[in-house]
Amino acid sequence: MNATIDRLRYRSQLRQPASERHEDSHPLTWRLREDNESIDLAEYQRKNGYVGTQRALTEHSASEVIDIVKEANVRGRGGAGFPAGVKWSLTLQGEDIPRGYLVCNADEMEPGTFKDRMLLEQQPHLLIEGMIIGAYANNSRFGYIFLRDEYRAAAVSITRALNEAREAGWLGKNIAGSGFDFDIALHTGAGRYICGEETALLNSLEGHRANPRDKPPFPGQSGAWGKPTVVNNVETLCNVPGVLQHGADWYQQLSGGRSDDGGTKLYGVSGQVERTGLWELPIGTTGEELMALAGGMQSGHELKAWLPGGGSTGLLLPEHLELPLDFDSIGKAGSRLGTGLLTVISRQQSIVALLRNLEQFFARESCGWCTPCREGLPWTVKVLQALERGEGEPEDIELLQQLGKGLGPGQTFCAHAPGASMPLTSALKYFRDEFEAGVARPHTAVEEA
């Protein structure tokens, strides 16, 4: 193993040192080790692990667990912000209804997002706890962790943790003497961003092409193999054990009045800042506060724009950094919080080139199921490429506007194309002049040559 390899090897890492993380304020990260190694069962239990699970399964009914999660208002951390407790309350349950599945969406591929990777690699037992509690609340008979294939270190960490949990009786029959049976299998994917869309994920889990499914029925009514199925993001599930351990009020106050939402959030920054990285902070922390932690822009760079939570969120301007980074505030500003990991863009960066890169990604990753997405995205790329070369047509700006609308919400089966349209329409709104500069000025250049 040469020194270069060692220096370059990627390790998921939280920026906050242990001295700044506490049990009562940093539920997602206070247990993390300074050496970034995966926490085994013994250490996890020493650090009050599985207390939330024990409490949920032995002191509460399933519907009480749902009520507590509802009261805490845990909002989905995969990007949509849908309240997890409400989602759970919509799962079909009853004597005549077969027990279904709880699926953890660990298919993190949103451009600019590297938060679930850290949780999966370093703290798999927190996720397993969240899944046990979720399964108990939703009467799920079995769970799957749908992990993207590239997360090899996470697969090792999860596999070990599942074995430990099974051996210790946290998975299997009669968990913690509660009479509840549940187990989890790890399913690794084989590429394709679209697998992160929850119904495409279910098709992939069933071994099909990952095309999305029509809704309704929603997965809670008819999901994997037609059974009631809950799909939750990694970070969402990792929020649940703390809620059951400390209660809904505790969870609510974690945001310290910065937001109507409760809890903390894994925030991150990548792009042209001094210190890229990941932090656990109260939800509602402002963009300015986060940028300060990231040390501001690199020298020689000035902030031009930022994506609040991945490639499928709309661009925002420097002035928007004063907003709380929560679902409602960023939504009102015309974008989406998404995954909450900022991509920071320098003045020196051409917006047209960045959009070309983003739309190439969405075009390549379209599953091809419905027309606006299959046809519209490659068309968008073609137009952007022409503008980037300075060979655009005068009508291209209007064409991009129309494409943005045609790819938008309500036009397609799933959220893939609307996700692609968000950065496009926001870029046209804020940086129209850059697109206009890509329109070819006919004749003059040619004549001079």
């Binding site: 270069t4 084989a190 099909h208």
Partner: protein
């Protein structure tokens, strides 16, 4: 699940699954309500052994799982990490998503292409490396990032390439 329930399967006499692989595929079925769900893992089992999934493996996998070959073919052509042509001994996946793009991905890609003398989707003449793009690797805090086989690296600069590749013979 029984392998007797084969429907529409046309076994190929040009390809036979290793017994251990066949058993691993059938064991994978135990996790799911339907054998179709083991399809992706079954293709990955073939790929782990041969490096890629040859056409003739499709009916063999279908037969092992009791599925129509068209179902297996449909899956095998959808997923980007199922390789349908031979690849090199080591596969390099360059992250081409936004954060890496902002961190000089274009330069890194050009350096790899020049160093290896190949473009995306191609394999070096000595059969050592295949170069492919990949979706955001979730290593954006250290872009530009890439994977070689099971390992993830970042940030990788053009001057690191020689030493990085040395380890993969």
């Amino acid at each position: 699940m029984s392998t007797e329930q084969t429907v529409n399967t046309i076994a190929s006499d040009r390809f036979e699954l290793e017994r251990a692989d066949r058993e691993a595929m059938q064991q994978e079925c135990e996790h799911f309500e339907q054998p179709q769900a083991a399809c992706i893992e079954a293709l990955k089992i073939v790929q782990r052994r041969y490096g890629w999934v040859p056409d003739d493996a499709i009916p063999a996998v279908a037969e092992a799982l009791g599925l129509p070959p068209a179902n297996v073919e449909g899956v095998a052509t959808f997923y980007s990490l199922i390789f349908r042509q031979p690849v090199g001994r080591h596969v390099i996946l360059l992250c081409d998503s936004s954060s890496c793009f902002l961190n000089d991905y274009d330069t890194l890609r050009a350096a790899f292409e020049e160093k290896l003398g190949i473009g995306y989707g191609q394999t070096t003449e000595d059969g050592r490396f295949t170069l492919l793009p990949v979706c955001c690797l979730g290593a954006c805090d250290r872009g530009p990032a890439l994977m070689i086989d099971d390992d993830t690296f970042g940030p990788v600069r053009p001057e690191d390439i020689d030493e990085l590749l040395e380890t993969y013979s």
